[in-house]
Symmetry: C2
Subunit: 415 residues, 2 copies
Amino acid sequence: MKKNVLIIGAGGVAQVVAHKCAQNNDVLGDIHIASRTVAKCQAIIDSVHAKQNLKNADGVLKGHALDATNVDATAALIRETGSQIVINVGSAFINMPVMSACIATGAAYLDTAIHEEQDKICETPPWYANYEWKRREECEKAGVTAILGAGFDPGVVNAYAKLAVEDYFDKIDSIDIIDINAGSHGKYFATNFDPEINFREFTGTVYSWQNSQWQSNKMFEVKKIWDMPVVGESQTFMTGHDEVHSLSQNLNVPNVRFWMGFGDHYINVFTVLKNIGLLSEKPVLTAEGQEVVPLKVVKACLPDPSSLAPNYTGKTCIGDLVKGTKDGKETEVLIYNVADHKEAYEEVGSQGISYTAGVPPVAAAMLIASGEWDVKKMANIEELPAKPFLHLLNHMGLPTRIKDANGDRDLDFAS
Amino acid sequence: MKKNVLIIGAGGVAQVVAHKCAQNNDVLGDIHIASRTVAKCQAIIDSVHAKQNLKNADGVLKGHALDATNVDATAALIRETGSQIVINVGSAFINMPVMSACIATGAAYLDTAIHEEQDKICETPPWYANYEWKRREECEKAGVTAILGAGFDPGVVNAYAKLAVEDYFDKIDSIDIIDINAGSHGKYFATNFDPEINFREFTGTVYSWQNSQWQSNKMFEVKKIWDMPVVGESQTFMTGHDEVHSLSQNLNVPNVRFWMGFGDHYINVFTVLKNIGLLSEKPVLTAEGQEVVPLKVVKACLPDPSSLAPNYTGKTCIGDLVKGTKDGKETEVLIYNVADHKEAYEEVGSQGISYTAGVPPVAAAMLIASGEWDVKKMANIEELPAKPFLHLLNHMGLPTRIKDANGDRDLDFAS
């Protein structure tokens, strides 16, 4: 049994994590939020109070200034706050130092995205082997629970894959993870996450796992239309994504692919900016002699993603389409969730993309607190039992649905 | 009779001006080129020698470093070089100081585009009244010939309008100036002039002269397809342009409009960049605290316009479609020129857009040298006799053609 949570980061996802931790502080204990800019922590704390989301109203909810690249400072804050669970939802560049601080203190570690280095885009597959998995032994030796990629995708979609293995198939041939945001923010153009990170995701090689080996494609090279529940026919492109790099190694499935929905407008804007060179991380020199990174200027011109929340409408649909055989028969199951931008904003003051990413790590923290997922080693989500996680999420705003030959229905744990 | 030419500026148009002056140095005398960066003058001089374009091979052809915003320095260089004709093809921001230097020394002044101030885009119409025409009296008193807008458009198209008045109509109802570049530079996106100046042209109000009054529109608001000789059906948009602001005041014509050809790709790129805010002249602040003008970063990412010349293919077609009455009958005449990018590059090392802009001021300089256009006052092209100018251009690489009820033919001065 572990308790007291330190949230690292104070962006859109951290806001959701804080609200959800607060709603469950009877289980999770004290809630601390740390960020380089303590004012951003305070803004989140204020929004938790404004929504009256603190279940135990006398519980601790406190902000801290922290440079999370400093392992000693992070370890000191973990000790000072008595935090036994760290939810890292800061930038993708701080995963390794935060993990080091957890190993030093024995606190459980949770993140939602793969570790990245500033100057490297899209390293060799499987991505987890470049940083995270090199530290498996170190975690096990220290008895530290480190759960990787516990957002929605990666995260919940990994649990969907595990559920398919556990309950629906004898043998799986393919897992296609499909991520559709059919929401509308009303701006000419905006990204749902930090534009810099968002564009980094799409400028590298697209790796997929096909016929039990890595395949390389370019972004927007492979297109597919999927007919998805609620959001309908959706244009997607094969995209590189974290979960392909663990599911392919941990489940014995020959085909694992990720498909992200993109409208023609997004593709057009992305293509113009990329072809002109405005998404480059490499500095250019202006006629006046100023050295500037174009991508950082594009980011400065685009809307702040958190500013989109108040007017965001529409729904997201994210799920796993799994194909294989059960009892000798060919079987196809879609395991999915539908979330609503406006409902997310009303509950926690965030848009739906932050909501789907921020709720799952809190469910995971609760399973660490209860001991069910306190495995005292490093694990990707598909290495853990799926049902306790999906059961919790059914009650935390991200219900799972199943669509197969037997119909389209809630995943029901009562039966 | 005037001689010896000082060219101010060392960009793509200046290169054409230098080559054409050199080809006619038996008439024009010594040729001097002045720019802030003397190395750019030298590169032009080298290219003139490489193409053996100096007609009188012993003639003077020399580069000079000059800050043309400094009136005294410019006047001193005019005196030192004994230049009686100044061709100003530097940036649009230096017209007024260069004109002052001409008035101080008695040298004739020629330019190809309207004066602009850095911080003002698209001032009130007629544009010439904001700066140039305020100095009419000053020029006349000093006996200084100052010919405004002597490029192609403005310039040759003004002479086409004057020719229509002189020879083809009793009464003109409308002049539509149509500028089509059907060339291809093989790049994803590039501008034919300095991107900063190019985009400035299209971010302001579009002024046209209709029913004898100014009409305001937005860029890309008014579209028209024209079927033009050689280049065929071409998509154009009503655009603000210098010559509308003088023809409307100097010729008694109720409708003067300018139409620029834009492909869908140009419009798409322009629209994306503009809507995101990347064409803004106002600085933005990056997350790292750097203050940057987005338009200057876009300029730094785009190809240098002069780099396009070697691979530029295809043709331009620019002309005046004039409608009115002659001998009581409704009449329609298209007066136009077709130029070829590759031929321009072979002759003077420049692309066709620079060529059409750079040849006419040299023809104008030759008419000042001969005395025919040495009017000792300020004049726009349509205030001068059109035929000597068009006759010269027929022999300098920009022949005029006429298309009307009598067919499509060369403008023939022999008959």
